[in-house]
């Protein structure tokens, strides 16, 4: 039981760091540009498909992962310059409508190119199979790798945002975009960079999660919704908040699905109540956080 519990905690952290890759871009784009980007899930899908196609044709998983980052970043730059750029000054309803249209375009476009059947990414042989962790826990090496990659990306992102001039300009733009422009910073270049960065992270997460699951049209939207929950919990615009929110949501979702049905069997004799409750759990968590901290855990009061 303890071993299983620890394994579930690791699964929760693994889900959390992958959610973080999605949420980081979403929260930056919302925080810096004030844009609600529903098409962020499409970039996740683009990454997954690019990885599947490149991995299948070259036989290299690593090249597939690189392709996912590049393809999603390129797609991000394209939609930023063609569509998104026109939406910054508009209200949120226009943004939601336009980016929803982008979801439909990306989904149908992908269906045209790859068809409706799911693709599969193979875990590379070097990362296949379980690894024995201290304490005798057998855990899939690939999932452990995802946790490590996620934490490395989180740390790199933290350094980028807090230690580089570009990151400091991004923070300044988040606080007062008119002022940073008046000081001579080309905010539109900054926006394109932030968007491409967010897209690349979404693409990477699509490729990595796509390896665990399957690569198919529409795979991005469920993740998008969870990522929105993450950034609301963490505080919109905060990268730290996105990381904390993502780990919280990952753990809540995984442990809820693991513990609540068995708890419900003990209490009511059937797992139904527990299953229903576990699917609602992250939203209950969000409601609780908002009740006590309306700006989110790491958000700044406006």
């Amino acid at each position: 039981m303890t071993l299983l519990f620890i394994e579930q905690i690791l699964n929760g952290v693994q889900l959390g760091v992958m959610l973080f890759l999605m949420a980081a871009g979403l929260t930056l784009v919302f925080g810096v540009m004030g844009l609600i980007n529903l098409a962020h899930g499409s970039l996740y899908m683009v990454g997954a498909f690019a990885a599947a196609a490149v991995a299948a044709s070259t036989g290299s998983f690593l090249l597939g992962v690189v392709a996912s980052i590049v393809a999603a970043a390129v797609a991000g730059v394209l939609i930023e310059m063609l569509v998104i750029r026109r939406l910054y000054g508009r209200d949120h309803l226009d943004q939601v409508l336009a980016t929803f249209a982008l979801i439909l375009i990306f989904s149908e476009g992908t269906r045209m190119v790859f068809g409706s059947f799911p693709l599969y990414l193979q875990i590379p042989p070097a990362l296949a199979g379980p690894i024995t962790l201290p304490g005798g826990i057998e855990y899939p090496l690939f999932r452990l790798t995802l946790i490590v990659i996620g934490l490395i990306v989180a740390f790199a992102l933290y350094l980028l945002i807090t230690k580089t001039r570009l990151g400091i300009q991004i923070q300044a733009g988040e606080e007062d975009r008119e002022m940073i422009s008046a000081l001579g910073i080309d905010i539109s270049k900054l926006y394109t960079f932030v968007f491409a960065l967010g897209a690349a992270l979404a693409g990477l997460s699509g490729a990595l999660v796509g390896t665990l699951q399957s690569v198919e049209v529409g795979m991005g939207e469920p993740v998008l919704i969870t990522a929105f929950v993450v950034i609301v919990i963490g505080g919109i615009g905060s990268i730290q908040g996105a990381l904390i929110g993502a780990i919280l949501v990952g753990l809540t979702q995984t442990l809820g699905a693991f513990l609540l049905p068995s708890l419900s069997i003990t209490l009511f004799g059937s797992p139904d109540t527990g299953q229903v409750l576990s699917s609602m759990l992250i939203y209950i968590l969000m409601a609780l956080v908002l009740l006590f901290r309306p700006q989110g855990l790491m958000g700044v009061k406006t």
């Binding site: 400091i168 300044a172 606080e175 002022m179 940073i180 008046a182 000081l183 001579g184 910073i185 080309d186």
Partner: protein, 229 residues
């Protein structure tokens, strides 16, 4: 030789016209004071110069280049250094980050700015939100200087500060004029302090230039009519 020439500009916030006919000039190495009561369009004029608000007609020429079709950051890169009303420091950044975030190469760098405002060196790793109003004002001035502007634009740089802090800011402005020969456009309420630094004065009323000339020629009747005490 004029560095900045604003000629007969008009500008509106949506349907509300704010500027009807504003003209002013700042000479190279000169200091022009922009005067007038609250709400006559001083800050709006500055927003138009910095391209934060488009003007509808008239022309703005800076360093022999028209600013009309430029964006805010392009205009700034020609050499406009804005110290805006309300300071607008980046509160979640440190003092040092505020100063370096938009820095461009030139005479002014972090050590020169902290020589002008020694207090900023002591507080360099402190978040801007935790500073006093006077210190934030020093950050806002330092931040503009670090872009190495040809023209420093000061909008209400001493507003809401304690008298002793005001004097610190004024003495820094005088230093900039005297030792750096920096051109300055300054909006302020205190005629007494302005008269020590400004050579030219422009008086606005209801969105239009009413009087302009040498600061020394500003008569009591003009100040009584348009500026008041």
């Amino acid at each position: 030789m004029a560095l900045l020439t604003v000629a007969n500009i008009t500008a509106s916030y949506g349907p509300t016209q704010a500027l009807f006919d504003v003209s002013l000039t700042v000479k190279r190495g000169g200091v022009t004071a922009l005067l007038g009561r609250n709400g006559v369009g001083k800050s709006t004029t500055i927003k138009s110069i910095c391209r934060m608000l488009p003007h509808a007609s008239g022309s703005i020429t800076f360093d022999n280049k028209p600013l009309t079709h430029l964006t805010s950051h392009q205009a700034a890169r020609l050499g406009l250094g804005l110290v805006p009303e309300g300071r607008r420091c980046f509160n979640n950044l440190t003092v040092q980050q505020n100063l370096t975030v938009a820095e461009r190469p030139g005479h002014w760098n972090f050590s020169k700015v902290t020589t002008l405002f020694p207090r900023l060196a002591e507080r360099k790793n402190q978040q801007c939100a935790t500073l006093s109003g006077g210190e934030q004002q020093m950050v806002a001035i330092g931040r503009a200087l670090m872009t190495n502007p040809k023209l420093l634009i000061l909008d209400e740089a001493t507003e809401g500060l304690a008298p002793i802090v005001r004097q610190e800011i004024w003495s820094a402005i005088r230093t900039l004029k005297e030792t750096q020969n920096l051109s300055i456009l300054v909006v302020d309420k205190s005629l007494k302090d302005l008269s020590k630094v400004a050579d030219q004065a422009v008086v606005l009323s209801r969105g239009a230039t009413m009087w302009s000339g040498a600061m020394a020629d500003l008569t009591d009747s003009v100040t009584a009519q348009y500026i008041g005490v």
